[in-house]
């Protein structure tokens, strides 16, 4: 699915990804953790083919990104800080545009709308949506595109409890539907419950990769002892 070998991405003169090695097999749910500015978003954007590979190898969905960054686009979905939506179009219109652009049927779009309980705001223009509603919209778009690789950048942020339930069941269901998932998140206790594996980024490199994430001492962030 995703294979990085000392992959380097430069943002300007800064190596936001400074030689990362990562192997994600089909059906995995991998959690990317790491401090602010560690390079999580950059890594996800690289995997989505949005950033050029400066050096090293990067193979996603069997395609070598150094050769072609566009072939994989229809087969993946990225849920990031931005919704990629048009403020003047309603939720439905945005959803349908994105879905049909990816060559899927509007039916898929409507199903996704239902699933994320967006019907109430279906005809509100995107510009007026609340933060969490926007997050739901981008999740809906991602689902409607039925991707084989699902890249989630802090997916829990801004979602209410109901939304988190949906998100969690989407992620949990992913392997069953033949999806591979990469999650970058700071809500570690939630994300670790979902992930089959955690990978820690630091200074643009993969530091430790742990197989077992369920060790309590890890899953409970230091904060807890530190203060309470």
């Amino acid at each position: 699915m995703v294979h990085l070998r000392s992959a380097v991405c430069m943002l300007g003169r800064f190596p936001a990804l400074a030689g990362a090695d990562l192997d994600v097999e089909s059906g995995e749910i991998v959690l990317l953790s790491g401090a602010n500015g560690a390079g999580k978003t950059t890594l996800l954007r690289l995997c989505a083919g949005l950033l050029p590979l400066r050096s090293g190898q990067a193979e996603v969905l069997g395609v070598d990104l150094a050769v072609d960054r566009r072939a994989i686009r229809r087969a993946l979905a990225l849920v990031g800080h931005e919704t990629f939506c048009y403020d003047d179009l309603t939720v439905v219109e945005n959803l349908h545009f994105a879905t049909r652009a990816a060559g899927h049927s509007s039916a898929a779009a409507d199903a996704a709308l239902e699933r994320l309980a967006l019907s109430r705001v279906a005809h509100v223009t995107h510009g007026r949506l609340s933060q969490g509603q926007r997050r739901r919209v981008s999740l809906a778009i991602a689902l409607a595109r039925d991707p084989r690789l699902l890249l989630l950048d802090e997916p829990h942020a801004g979602l209410d409890e109901e939304g988190r339930l949906v998100l969690d069941e989407v992620v949990r269901g992913a392997p069953g539907e033949g999806r591979t998932v990469l999650i970058a998140s700071h809500e570690l206790d939630l994300a670790r419950k979902l992930a089959t594996r955690e990978v820690r980024l630091a200074a643009g490199q993969i530091r430790e990769a742990r197989a077992d994430v369920s060790r309590p001492d890890i899953s409970r962030p230091p904060r807890a002892e530190a203060i309470a």
Binding site: D88, A117, R120, E162
Partner: protein
């Protein structure tokens, strides 16, 4: 307002316009110099004056909206409605004016002060209307539009006095104007005055209708707020919160 009164108003407008037409076309004499062309006077001048009136109303409504004590959503909407009608009448003035200019001045358009300032007035208020139509909510919009309206209104007196301030081809000052027609005192003056009255009725009618529509679109009096809240509560009970 009740149906009856609404139709009464509409009918009155129609009658007044019809009478104006009759007066203008048949009763009033044609002009020594201009021949029949002069009859455009009865459309051109009233529409110009009504445009002034409309923009004046817009300015006043804007002030009323700006003053916290008198602020009501209606003032904002009235300002908008009146401005839109005013833009129409300004356009009419420009169109009829150039129609008139063709026979009288031998040209559609002349870059003289009156004409130019009128054109600027036209665009200033087109801008104002565009500003209102940016899809912003009434709250986001209100103050900006009010102030824009006040700035734009500064041009109106300039249009009016342009003929005195600058040397213009356009008729100066008064309607009782020699080279226009010596016999204006009689039927012409009456027709003109009547026409102005008819146009004022038309203006009032248009503005009221536009205002109604606007209020249906977005005018939020207290009860409407109440209803909106009730609706929202009803709607969201369905959604498990």
């Amino acid at each position: 307002m009740t149906l009856v009164r609404k139709y009464a108003f509409g009918a009155a407008v129609l009658v007044a316009l019809a009478v104006t037409a009759v007066l203008a076309l048949f009763v009033s004499p044609d002009d020594a110099v201009q021949g029949d062309a002069v009859r455009l006077l009865y459309l051109h001048v009233p529409s110009a004056w009504i445009a002034y009136l409309a923009f004046f109303v817009t300015a006043v409504a804007s002030v009323l909206w700006l003053v916290p004590r008198t602020r009501r959503p209606t003032w904002d909407l009235l300002a908008g409605a009146s401005a839109e009608v005013g833009v129409i009448f300004t356009g009419l003035t420009l169109a009829l004016g150039s129609l008139w200019g063709r026979p009288v001045w031998g040209t559609w358009w002349e870059w003289d002060a009156r004409l130019t300032t009128t054109a600027i007035m036209f665009f200033l208020y087109l801008g104002y209307v565009a500003l209102r139509r940016t899809g912003a909510t009434a709250d986001e919009r209100g103050k900006r539009c009010a102030i824009a309206a006040l700035i734009a209104f500064a041009d109106v007196p300039i249009v009016h006095f342009s003929v005195n301030w600058w040397q213009t081809l356009h008729q100066t000052g008064t309607v009782f104007n020699e080279e226009l027609n010596p016999t204006i005192h009689g039927s012409m003056a009456f027709t003109l005055v009547f026409g102005v009255g008819a146009f004022t009725l038309l203006y009032g009618y248009l503005v009221l209708r536009r205002l109604r529509i606007a209020e249906l679109e977005e005018g939020l009096e207290e009860r409407e707020v109440e209803r909106a809240i009730a609706e929202r509560l009803r709607a969201e009970q369905v959604v498990p919160a």
